[in-house]
């Protein structure tokens, strides 16, 4: 009897310990703020113009509210933001409608007319309020002036059921709470960069790996050279709106994160496409690639096709991403690398959705990281 009492109390203690551990596991959403809460030093305060958010989610979303939340958060951490009325006047005067990138003329005017040293471009990739909510953003800071370059870039995709914890204690049902987590993480990443501490956008730590099913790398490609890369929008074959642009953004972000490439601002690439009326019927032709090489002074062009970029609404469903990509090299005019990757979010899941990936954003990130590792290995 004594033995049995001891055993049951021990079992209870172990059970409680497991419960605490599991509920702790549920708090994984978001990056730690660390010292990001400290205000930025005066010398790190560059004037940043925060462009209105670009909606690539394909659904109506409260973009202005989201932007305001970001602005409040930036101001709280001492980020020097260009006044909204100044930015608005500038955008009206210069007739700027596209806010998903910045071309040379806009970057130049922005610097001389408003004094902004950088522009923050944020793309909303996914917004679903249906519980559990799902939100994904890609944000980048681009320098203004004569040579717009990407200074910082990061992306976050969160779902309310990413880590539900024991008895669903950590399940997030309120989209505002999830949005706050996204804002907190992106602000932490941006302020960490601005303060010169670290560039979390370049950190591959914690990235999942989803390997391509096929890849080819030509001996022409030299991984020791720091190539200048232009990423063309992917050919859209998916039913998801803007999937081609979203996929291109993933490549821009992660090519930059790898560090072996100098990635051209997508706004400049888009501007060249428009100026030279480049229309990709079935991908990029070599003649079109030549125009991009010469106008953007690029060494490599990354292009591809997106077959599936699928998120799901609510609790049941599975994310799915299927793409192929290739790199064309300037001197040889040849494809020096190509890959084929397709994955679904519940691959290898056997018990209670453990290990399930809930957003196409997270899947695409893992797939692109793995694909690029085959390039630079």
């Amino acid at each position: 009897m004594i033995y049995s009492a001891n055993f049951s109390s021990k079992a209870f203690v172990i059970f409680v310990a497991i419960m605490f551990y599991l509920s702790g596991c549920g708090q994984k959403n978001g990056l730690p703020m660390n010292s990001a809460h400290d205000s930025l030093q005066a010398e790190n305060k560059i004037l940043i113009a925060v462009f209105p958010f670009h909606n690539a989610s394909g659904v109506p979303s409260p973009l202005n509210d989201m932007r305001q939340l970001f602005l409040d958060s930036f101001k709280e951490y001492g980020v020097n933001i260009l006044e909204d009325n100044v930015l608005e006047t500038f955008m009206i005067d210069n007739r700027i409608r596209y806010v998903g990138g910045v071309d040379l003329a806009t970057a130049r005017d922005l610097k001389w007319k408003t004094g902004a040293e950088a522009v923050l471009i944020t793309t909303l990739e996914l917004y679903s309020e249906e519980p559990p909510p799902k939100i994904a953003f890609v944000s980048r800071l681009v320098s203004t002036g004569n040579d717009p370059t990407i200074l910082w870039m990061d992306g976050i995709g969160l779902a309310g059921d990413d880590s539900i914890g024991l008895l669903e204690l950590s399940l997030i049902k309120d989209p505002r709470k999830l949005l706050q987590n996204v804002v907190r993480d992106l602000t932490a990443s941006l302020t960490a960069y601005l303060s010169g501490r670290e560039d979390r956008g370049k950190s591959m730590e914690g990235s999942i790996r989803l390997w391509p099913s096929l890849y080819h790398r030509s001996p022409i490609f030299d991984s020791t050279i720091k190539y200048r890369v232009a990423v063309a929008p992917f050919l859209q074959l998916s039913e998801r709106r803007n999937a081609g642009n979203i996929m291109a953004l993933h490549f821009v972000r992660l090519l930059r994160a790898i560090g072996s490439f100098s990635v051209i601002e997508p706004g400049l690439v888009r501007d060249t496409f428009l100026q030279y009326r480049i229309i990709m019927d079935d991908g990029l032709s070599l003649a079109q690639a030549d125009i991009l090489f010469s106008k953007l002074d690029a060494d490599l062009i990354l292009a591809g096709k997106i077959f599936d970029y699928q998120d799901y609404v609510g609790l049941f469903g599975r994310a799915k991403v299927d793409f192929s990509a290739l790199l064309i090299e300037r001197k040889s005019r040849e494809v020096v690398w190509s890959c084929e990757s397709h994955h679904v979010g519940d691959e290898g899941v056997f018990f209670f959705d453990w290990g399930k990936i809930h957003t196409a954003h997270k899947m695409a990130s893992g797939m692109v990281v793995s694909a690029l590792e085959t390039l630079v290995e």
Partner: protein, 193 residues
Amino acid sequence: MTKCMHRRYLILLPLIISLLACGSRSHLTYYHDPDMDFAAIRTVAVLPFENLTTDRLAGERVRDILSNSLMATGAVYVLPSGEVARGIARAGVVNPSTPSKEEMAKLAPIIKADGLITGVVTEYGEVRSGTATANVISFNLQMIEAQTQKVVWTGSTSQGGISVWDRLFGSGGKPMNDVVMAAIDDILGKLFK
């Protein structure tokens, strides 16, 4: 006793035969031109495939995986699909999945291809039989030598389908992409044999 045993066999035999008949498919037929030196073909263009299925992307998916698989073999260089599309437009090919000899003669020099690959996807997607489902693909390919416009290799393959295992345990079969990859591996295995 013996009569009873015979009866059991009579019941079991058709059951086994029908189960085996429903097994997953893996068929491959091919033709190689015996006089052709395949080493002479360095650059190939994979033309858009004819899609006879209900999936609007079936042809494009198979074409894309085939192009990458061919590249991955390292034996041939595959022209990017955008460059092939430019050549098709410039050569004025009316039906790119079944070009005429004259069209091929015009197209190949524009894109500087030694060989052209055409194909037809005849089956792509899920098949259902009772409660069992599985993915299946069937397609055929042909390679045409650009200089002579002669068919030097053809092959057709079929992979996937409902296996005995799927029928008994309802596993749903392999994912579609795995079936496509297996079919392409199968057919390329014969091309480079």
